[in-house]
Symmetry: C2
Subunit: 380 residues, 2 copies
């Protein structure tokens, strides 16, 4: 008995030291296990379990700031587990399927994904609520809705059918309204122009007579240059200037259509449930911290790019759409919302919930950063 | 040899199971240790080390949202370590020294503290930069400066002399300018009034002829009611309404003096260095996530309170100080800054650094949430 006991324990400890105790280190000795060994095994498994996950993202893995939360997540998770929980990152350059992320995670080809929820509106229209909607919430309002309103509740409800747990994955803030070759003075100027603009905003623009198209990122500049399209929206100065759009479309419009674009971390529910409890909590906390970081990384990059743009590219004409044009955009947005609400019960419920939240939240937003800038901006 | 080996290993495992492997579980057998045992001990120590820290906070432990980051931090850290790293929370009701936190942490009576950096301006004027300053950065600008500008670099520099590592600990956003018994129409109306307003803003108000005082939170309402003071600033509607100030001072002014008040987590450097590397990373990530949460908790509470205030307390008169009054406040702020800059090299350096950062950041802020609300607010 002593010999077996010794062997079992030695095996366990060697497993601990050299493999960090993988999934099945002691299966062979299961039947002969003494009580102490059983308890030790539990502790060892819990404390030093080696886990390697793969993450697929919509973006090239070097595309900052969108890809940054994945790098930060992987580093945080590894650092918090002494390298025992690793996340391998696969950018679009590896898996070649920018819009295959939901299926990858649903089918557990990847345990985790990083993308944008509104890309899945073809699968379920209610996925749009967790990215951003035209004339919707600001970043602060939306995170407050996620965490202290009903946002996370609805997020779980919508993604449950895919066997996915969905989490906020980083916010770009207000995206710019896009680059146009000509100035938009009235709503008539929008009619017939060809524009790359995805999501619900594309449906809104289509209602105003815009010919809406989607084009992969790599072909955007050429398409704009050659006149395949007359306008496009991308993100904001931090990312846009590098693309060179300003050279061929000098009118740069302020945003209305994506006031707070949130990325998403999608986690396969079964894979998550298999994680030791501590690793689940480590993953959740790291997702929250890395999502938070993205906003400030992008804000910093955008403010640097904005300053540079103003001095290096003085020919860029920064404009806001005239109020009557914006009103038509908003009317069209309401029409689109009402159409989906009449077709889909849950859509209607979330729409009403968000509208009620935004009403209170916006009144307070106006007293915060907005009011502060408004009352202090003209001071010397 | 076998017997000793067995005893050592059994002892180790029992230690692992029943004590989670404390600081000194196997000291007695140190000399007889075989190589396997040594390695096992290292793993066991690293993986299951039991740590209990104590945290002292400036606030009563129930004062949300200010105390919330401490509760969230303790829960996150415990959940990420299977309860092996515990943080005991001591509110002001326990240690009785709201403004003793820096000394507590410096002297390692507490390993960690939660407070506001500007409370330590008497010890070092440069601590003010990590809370907020009058006419300073917004929350977004300040976090961007912390993490992607030079903020954290200066934070470390300033707190190094105390043997403390300092981290952002939650932001209130723009604080309201305070409750006044009478309307402020001109700068003359400020002269001679008695006001509770702490920090640099108090120095600014003093320059405008205000008689500045500081009064503990518990006595604020009575002081205002009895006329010991004529005005006070506290935080914002989420916290203010509960205090009842509106019943005795109906003029509620918008903010200028604390545009982005950041709380702080102070960590004793030596205590931090003793933590296993994984726990250090767990602590850092949990501080970031719990700091991020506070903003949204407060935003949510404030927008609820603001809506309630508007309907339940329609007699509250929400005002902004007239522009000429604000200009005098800003001029006085600049005077105060210049005075400190002439006396303190590092103050001057951080001041210049922040001013340069804010210049670029504010231009971009105006294109973001501010511009979005500005261009869409009057739409139907």
């Amino acid at each position: 008995m002593k010999k077996i006991y010794l062997m079992v324990i030695s095996f366990l400890l060697v497993g601990l030291v050299f493999t960090g105790c993988g999934d099945k280190p002691t299966n062979e000795t299961k039947q002969s296990a003494a009580p102490v060994k059983q308890e030790a095994k539990q502790v060892a498994k819990k404390e030093t379990k080696k886990v390697v996950w793969k993450l697929a993202m919509t973006w090239p893995s070097t595309l900052t700031p969108l890809a940054s939360p994945t790098h930060n997540l992987a580093k945080m998770v590894s650092d918090m587990t002494d390298g025992n929980f690793k996340i391998e990152l696969h950018g679009k350059e590896k898996h070649k399927a920018a819009l295959g992320i939901l299926d990858f995670v649903k089918n557990k080809q990847y345990e985790i994904g990083h993308s944008g929820s509104y890309y899945w509106k073809g699968k379920d229209i209610n996925t749009i609520w967790f990215t951003t909607v035209p004339f919707g919430m600001t970043m602060k309002e939306q995170y407050s809705w996620f965490y202290y309103g009903d946002g996370m509740k609805y997020m779980n409800k919508v993604y449950d059918r895919f066997g996915i747990l969905n989490f906020p994955g980083g916010n770009t803030g207000v995206q710019m309204g896009g680059w146009f070759k000509k100035e938009i003075k009235t709503a008539d100027d929008l009619k017939g122009i060809k524009m790359r603009i995805p999501g619900l905003a594309g449906e809104v623009m289509a209602k105003l007579g815009v010919s809406v198209t989607n084009i992969p990122a790599g072909e955007l500049y050429t398409s704009l240059d050659r006149g395949t399209i007359d306008a496009l929206e991308w993100v904001g100065p931090g990312m846009d200037i590098k693309m060179g759009f300003h050279k061929v479309a000098p009118y740069y419009y302020t945003g209305w259509h994506e006031p707070a674009s949130e990325m998403q971390f999608m986690v396969n529910k079964k894979a998550f449930e298999k994680l030791p409890k501590a690793y689940q909590n480590i993953l959740i906390t790291a997702m929250k911290a890395s999502a938070s970081d993205m906003y400030y990384e992008n804000f910093h990059a955008s403010s640097e790019a904005w300053a540079k743009m103003k001095t290096e590219f003085p020919d860029i004409k920064v404009k806001s759409f005239p109020q009557p044009v914006m009103q038509k955009m908003k009317d069209a947005t309401t029409e689109v919302f009402n159409k989906y609400a009449s077709e889909n019960k849950l859509f209607k419920e979330i729409y009403i919930n968000q509208q009620a939240y935004i009403k209170k939240a916006r009144a307070w937003s106006k007293m915060g950063e907005y009011g502060y800038i408004q009352t202090t901006d003209s001071l010397k």
